[in-house]
């Protein structure tokens, strides 16, 4: 079968996103649009914006990722592809990891890429641009993996979206703490590699553990 393994699912999910570019780009649009709300809702004063920017950008990125997580397994479940994935002769963690990687490539990576632009608009100090991109790149990968656990658990529920956010937001907390801390320490003029290293360690742990939890959830829960 050609529907086996990490790369097959990675390529296919990328192709599917490419065919539905509008849908795939919606987390990015969300990120851009919400960033307009902050100066409008708080204050256009550059100093106040600069103070809020590190945390706010992280919160927005987190919500944008969360928004797109629900669909990770939902369409596959509806059209029967998930069932085929479960009975393909392969270690289930591999296609799962392929799908999550594709998810990160179409959500987390674009968010990282546009973050300097948003940073500029929210008067994020220039020293914090690289830390922001680095922490978003690593952090959104964690968010995709953790979110996928929630998506797998709620895949067979008709209205899983709201429940999904209740399940995963508490689990997102360490990521946002260290993500925004990396940016904040850079703004304060300290070495920001420490928080980033912890974030990277979290990513390693998530890569090791999340696919197992996701595979377990898909096997046990999607069946009924």
């Amino acid at each position: 079968m050609s529907n086996i393994g990490f790369t097959a699912y990675l390529k296919r999910d990328l192709l599917l996103s490419y065919r539905r570019l509008g849908e795939a780009a919606s987390p990015l649009m969300f990120f851009l649009l919400v960033s307009i709300l902050i100066p409008l809702g708080v204050s256009p004063d550059p100093e106040r914006l600069a103070e809020l920017a590190p945390g706010m950008m992280w919160v927005m990125a987190l919500l944008a990722t969360l928004l797109s997580t629900e669909g990770l397994f939902a369409t596959d479940h509806q059209d029967g592809s998930l069932e085929q994935m479960l009975i393909a002769p392969q270690l289930l963690a591999l296609p799962v990891l392929g799908k999550v990687t594709a998810h990160w490539l179409v959500t987390g990576l674009p968010l990282t890429m546009v973050s300097p632009l948003i940073g500029l608009m929210l008067s994020l100090p220039p020293v914090a641009m690289v830390p922001m991109m680095a922490s978003l790149a690593v952090g959104t990968a964690c968010l995709s993996l953790i979110g996928a656990v929630g998506a797998a658990l709620t895949v067979s529920l008709r209205k899983g979206g709201l429940l999904l956010s209740i399940l995963v937001i508490p689990l997102y907390i360490p990521v946002i703490i260290f993500g925004s801390a990396a940016v904040q320490t850079a703004v304060d003029g300290f070495n920001w590699l420490g928080p980033l290293a912890i974030l990277a360690a979290m990513l390693c742990a998530a890569i090791a553990l999340c696919p197992l939890a996701i595979a377990g959830a898909l096997r046990l829960v999607s069946s009924n």
């Binding site: 050609s2 529907n3 539905r20 059209d79 069932e83 002769p89 069946s223």
Partner: protein, 213 residues
């Protein structure tokens, strides 16, 4: 010495929410056999098929594949089965050809894919995105797998839904050649098959369920 059956199901039993779906199922399937699983709606035909594909874990009982328990040779078993369920597993944004390529063995060549699509009457639709095809055509895309697969054991859940009479004939011809080549088929359908020596297996609803009704 009796030959080991290709598939041997021994007292397969499934319980969901403390509710027993059907009486423990036991049967053998030899190479060249076609078994039609019968039973009224809700009797558990899909459940039985999904148990056989190991998508569901049975509460008790075992499935032997060439005499070996499928938990011991799981990947070998999965590699030699093909399952087409209620949902056709067709991606709407992909073309018919892309969908079939995804579901076919990696060694399948492009002409073989086109030939398989032509067999199920989708010639000329190869590059059309599936969202512009009808429900019956989605089903045909899924069933085109039968012309590219190398799997020995086929599990087909209501394969003829939304398929016209001509299509049913083509599929039955393909099923016949699969059986002649030493494969076996388990399918659920309410139609009578125009094939020789179709064995029927009726699902018996569990006695608990009758009491409830």
């Amino acid at each position: 010495m009796p030959k080991t059956p290709l598939l041997s199901v021994d007292r397969l039993f499934f319980e969901r929410d403390d509710c027993n779906i059907f009486e423990p199922a036991s049967f053998n399937v030899e190479a060249g056999d076609i078994v039609q699983i019968e039973g009224p709606n809700g009797a558990g035909k899909t459940t039985l098929l999904r148990l056989l594909t190991s998508a569901l874990q049975p509460t008790s009982g075992s499935i032997l594949f060439s005499g070996e328990n499928i938990t011991d040779c799981h990947y070998e078993y999965l590699a030699s089965l093909l399952y087409i369920g209620h949902q056709p597993a067709v991606k709407m944004t992909l073309s018919a050809e892309e969908n079939l390529r995804w579901m076919s063995p990696a060694t399948t060549s492009a002409p073989e894919i086109d030939a398989a699509l032509a067999e199920v009457g989708l010639r000329g639709y190869e590059d059309v995105p599936c969202y512009s095809l009808s429900a019956g055509q989605h089903r045909r895309v899924a069933l085109a797998r039968l012309f590219t697969t190398e799997a020995k054991i086929w599990f087909l859940d209501e394969p003829f839904t939304a398929i016209d009479k001509q299509g049913v004939d083509i599929l039955q011809a393909r099923m016949g050649s699969h059986l002649a080549a030493g494969g076996c088929i388990l399918l659920s359908t309410h139609q009578d098959l125009a094939m020789d020596k179709v064995r029927k297996y009726s699902i018996e609803p569990h006695s608990d369920r009758e009491q409830q009704q």
